[in-house]
Amino acid sequence: MTTLSLDSVFRRLRATDAYRSIVRHGASATNRNRSLIVFENLFLHVHPVKVREKTLRFTHTYWLGGIALACALILTATGVLLMFYYHPSVPQAYRDMRELEFVVDNGLFLRNMHRWAAHLMVFASFLHMMRVFFHRAYRPPRQFNWVVGVVLLLVTLLLSYTGYLLPWDQLAFWGVSVGTNMAKEAPLIGEKARFLLLGGNIVSENALLRFYVLHCVVLPVALLLLLSVHIWRVRKDGGVQGPPEKPSSREEVR
């Protein structure tokens, strides 16, 4: 009689054809398997299989880009859940906020999480930009990725700003009114741009619908595309760049 242990169950599972068709690398802790884990996985293969040890140090990047990315993931997850309970119309939008607060299970928690993650993402993105500047990580070949980063910061601000209107309370309404009144001042295009953004001359239910579509579809797609370019270029340019390095004295030409 064979003893049935968890380990033996896993071992048998791993030996099945179905498992082998999904996970192609072995389970033993060899460097070959560690490499395969990274480059045979769609989501991990943006990493190289080996990284410079010093890039793992906290002071190399302060993980600020990572914090912003983590916020983006959390915002996507909580945002999709919030969409199940939200109608972008007046006055239902505001009633949905009240329902989130009093009726929906964990609705308030969901909204709180979404809001604080949004603020943290803006803040972390700004700090990330400062970190990159003071580490002079914008130098060749990374110049264009800096520009992509600036655009990403603007998209992040727009995402936060369009989301600010959606609760349709006094705070949201007047916050957006103040901001869009500033846009009106731009010479030549100001008035027209504001009309296009709001779908009218004042913040109304047309504006709510437009901000909703921008917030839930247009800007997240823009963020996803730009973020992909941003991260892909980090990899192509040799990984994250920390503080400026002097050419290593131990580096030699053979």
Binding site: S35, V49, E53, F109, L157, V178, M182
Partner: protein, 236 residues
């Protein structure tokens, strides 16, 4: 620094052909390979585990914040009832604070546009690639130029009575001059002395932006008058 191939060199247009290159190697120079003994580690598990932990820390931190602090929700939007003051989200309150001193087209359009343009051109401006410590090898002329430039900025914002910019500008200028000859001073002055001109400008920008945002968020009440933070409710 990067070894990019020349962009307008076409070796062959035939996709099947094997590209051939002829290299002439001089006897005194041989093809060399750059090697380094810098330490590398496997991405899995070293980096992946750290990324997972980072994500978990962010999730836990935000979950705790979400339990402790509720997102603000005021009464339903009413276009007929203007709150005083009506404030934009916090990250725009620096700009809204500027509205207090400048015409709207300057504070709301020109200045943000200048900031974005200035940020975009950073990697393409030569000074950001080559700048050394501000005072390294500097004669009296640099001090004069800096004092004049700083004085001009202070005068410009002083005309508009924009003290939240004037004061940090003066502070930055004082710190810049304190860094002069700081290589022989204490640890703090030695650190200051390492700053390049672009770094000083970015520090100035960050300090000004932070001060404007803090004033706009915490110190502005009805009619954009000065109030103490504890005399009002601040909603994020």
């Amino acid at each position: 620094m990067s070894a990019l191939p020349p962009i307008d060199l076409v070796e062959t247009a035939d996709p099947i052909a094997t590209p051939r290159r002829v290299a002439l190697v001089r006897p005194d120079r041989r093809p060399s390979v750059r090697t380094t003994d810098e330490k590398y580690v496997m991405t899995f598990p070293n980096l992946i585990v750290r990324e997972v932990i980072l994500f978990q820390v962010v999730v836990i931190g935000l979950a705790v914040a979400a339990i402790l602090f509720d997102a603000p929700l005021e009464g339903i939007a009413n276009p007929l009832e203007t709150p005083n003051p009506a404030k934009a989200p916090w990250y725009f309150l620096g700009l809204q604070e500027l509205l207090h001193y400048f015409p709207p087209v300057v504070a709301g359009v020109l200045m943000p546009l200048l900031v974005v343009v200035a940020l975009v051109v950073i990697p393409y401006a030569r000074i950001n690639q080559t700048a050394g410590p501000l005072w390294a090898g500097a004669g009296p002329r640099r001090a004069l130029t800096l004092a004049a430039a700083g004085g001009a900025v202070i005068a410009l914002f002083g005309v508009f009575k924009c003290w939240p910019i004037v004061v940090p500008t003066a502070g930055t200028l004082v710190a810049m001059f304190a860094a002069r000859g700081g290589e022989n001073g204490g640890a703090f002055r030695r650190a200051l002395a390492k700053g390049t001109l672009p770094e000083w400008i970015m520090v100035w920008f960050a300090v000004v932006a932070t001060i404007l945002t803090i004033i706009g968020t915490f110190f502005r009440g009805p009619g954009w008058s000065f109030v103490w933070p504890w005399a009002q409710t601040v909603a994020f």
